[in-house]
Amino acid sequence: MNTTITVNADQSTGTISRHIYGHFAEHLGRCIYEGIWVGEDSPIPNTRGIRNDVLEALRNLSIPVLRWPGGCFADEYHWKDGIGPREQRKRMVNTHWGGVVENNHFGTHEFLDLCELLGTEPYICGNVGSGTVQEMQEWVEYMTFDGESPMADWRKANGREKPWKLKYFGVGNENWGCGGNMRPAYYADEYRRFQTYVRNYGENRVYKIAGGANSDDYNWTETLMREAGGYMDGLSLHNYTVPGGFEVKRPATGFDEAEWFETMQLALRMDELITRHKAIMDQHDPKKRVGLIVDEWGTWFQVEPGTNPGFLYQQNSLRDALVAGLHFHVFHRHCDRVHMANIAQTVNVLQAMILTEGAEMLLTPTYHVFEMFKVHQDAEALSLHLDTGDYTLGDESIPQISASASKRADGTLDISLCNLDPNREAAVSLQLRGLAGIPEVSGRVLTHNDMNAHNTFSQPETVKPQAFEGVRSVSADGLSAVLPPASVVVLTLLS
């Protein structure tokens, strides 16, 4: 059947926070070291140790917020090890990630410098699992206090006179697991205690994020909202798309259609998870004051053959691009509660934007979806009705098309579409309500005739956006278009 989409251009369902397009960079594998930080003495061109090619590529994404230093690493990170002269910084073992040696050369100053270079907001995750209240309190004081205090004076002695602006602060990470193996009621109490000392200094106002649930652990959300909801601004949720599960992970490339289908099914599950966590949050917080912060999401596959298994380095194919598009559509639909999301992870780890090998760098299909979709950042989500056929494999079906529409401040409409079927193109009839005149339509598409297509260092542009030639007709009522199989399309409509 043909797909019919009705967009109500005059009916906003909320604002799509730009923070939904956030990222996550953990001290893990080659994400920070090699991927972002090469040091000032590297032959790779860099700005104060941060590689310029990656900086330029990430700037092009208009990254709104960057989460750091973990992840699991956050709950064994002691920030005082990562300040002062680099040659004097403590070396330690990152036990959560297989015993990686951490030299602490990339610490608080370097991270906040990166954020300033990118024009992005920092989101720092503090240590509850193995840290202390005092340590957390002093970190916030070090970064944000504008005046005379032991921590502010130390910051100045380390070369930073003015405090940084820090809004987003996570009080622990995955405290049900690597962040302390706590039970929810216990963590709720710990959260209440730790957050008390995450102070607002001067004009800086901290948005406090409590460690939230793993996937479908609704009891965690229920307990946290009941016991500590009044003390938080945000509550996190982590869910990865892992075909086969964590015990039997599958390759990132070389997959068949059954694995493609399973991956899409799992990605679509994010809608159910958010819907159910939201329902619990709504009971305790009907005014929707507390944001749902999906601060870890993305695909998780086997590491690339022949690479160190502790580095979590995986390829990134057209399949990952569809997963990213589907997630954004889900986040847009729930923008009343989802205030932020952070893909895992920015460079060289899991569903990354960028892969590097020494001085070489490539952009992944996921990067291109983030770039194409950035038009939705801070736009008004529009009411949309989707009537689509199924993509069926065996005796299971999922909707063939996923769609989302938003309106920018200047009135420009952007409509993103995903065709999940790798075999069938899709005829789409797009009906527009609430628009005057015939819009001028342009578009871009990300697709390939091989669902396994991906970019390599020898062929870095196998998958990249192209001008979309599939628009068949445009009128005052709407337009018709044909989407290629396995594609992500973004249409821009100027009235």
């Binding site: 040696v101 996937s215 964590f246 160190n308 502790g310």
Partner: protein, 98 residues
């Protein structure tokens, strides 16, 4: 006591054993990979073993590759940011023979 089965990181280990590497190498046989000669392979490994960028005894920090695997593959190159160390060593080895 219930054990958390959703733990993500604990199984990831950067310390890779010789047995694991041999298993990887054996798994590559007959799969259509193009390998370098044994002489080139040993030249490459000798370079990697003295390179400061080798971590955990097995891994190139610039590409994350296990050098005993990547050194065998014809399509691979040394990713050292200052230039390929393999290439220099292979050229030196070739000129010494001629």
């Amino acid at each position: 006591m219930a054990v958390n089965q959703t733990c993500k990181g604990c199984s990831a280990d950067v310390w890779v054993t010789e047995a694991q590497i041999q298993k990887l190498l054996a798994g590559m046989e007959g799969k259509g990979f193009s390998f370098v000669s044994e002489t080139v392979y040993q030249t490459r490994l000798a370079v990697c073993r003295t390179c400061p960028s080798l971590v955990y005894g097995t891994t190139c920090s610039h590409c994350g590759c296990l050098v005993e695997v990547s050194g065998k593959l014809a399509g691979k190159k040394c990713p050292h940011p200052a230039g390929s160390k393999w290439e220099k060593a292979e050229q030196a080895s070739a000129s010494a023979k001629s």
